[in-house]
């Protein structure tokens, strides 16, 4: 479900990005409280939420009469694993270098 290209396509829209940002900051919210992100209409918000749900970025939960929206942790993990900093590359590679060297020394 969590396909990276659909995730990014969904987040490529400024309003949808702002919705996701707000949900990450404030946690689960009803659609009504998301309207403040772009001063947009209720139908527009629900269209954006539909795109985000289809892309697997956001999930919906029904609580009595309210529909509550939140960001799926899997989507964020996928985003996190998609970018790799120089620091991360070297730190993790050097950890492995250290292990490989220790193994080598045990052979000697």
């Amino acid at each position: 479900m969590s396909n990276l290209s659909s995730t990014f396509a969904a987040l490529g829209d400024a309003t949808r990005f702002a919705i996701v940002e707000k949900l990450l900051q404030e946690g689960e919210l009803p659609a009504g409280e998301l309207r403040t992100v772009g001063q947009i209409s209720a139908p527009a918000i629900s269209r954006h939420l539909k795109v985000l749900r289809k892309a697997g970025v956001v999930e919906q939960r029904i609580d009595a009469q309210r529909r509550l929206y939140s960001v799926r942790p899997e989507a964020v993990q996928a985003i996190g694993s998609w970018s790799m900093s120089y620091r991360e590359f070297w730190q993790k590679s050097l950890d492995r270098l250290e292990m490989a060297l220790n193994q080598e020394m045990r052979k000697k």
Partner: protein, 143 residues
Amino acid sequence: MSTLKMERTFSADPATVFSFLTQPQNILKWWGPEGMTVPEHDLDFSKPGKWMSVMVNAEGGRYKVTGEVIKVDPPRSVELTWGWHDENDARGHESHVRLEVEPSGTGGAVFRLTHSDLPDDESAANHEQGWTSALKKLERLLN
């Protein structure tokens, strides 16, 4: 531009460390974070010339990086260039890597990494540069 520096002390002797840093069959024992595979590679840092690697993570994300070994001074140092490629295989910003080894005084080796000329956002192997700051923002919110 910014510079990333790391230092580690290994119990292995300098010659062994240098061989692990430069010999193709040894580089593959540590190149890339745990859990990544390196399906394509030309990693020989023992002599000047071009190098490349493609790393793939568990989610199928592909990271290609290429460069050139500029200078080798065995068993002390290696200098190379570094550039991530984007999803259209266009090579991005070029940075410089220096790997240094010296005796630790107790039989081991002190290893120093200097990765310089990095873009200031300390950025990442992203397939599209424009995403870097947006992603950083999202990741910060998560932590």
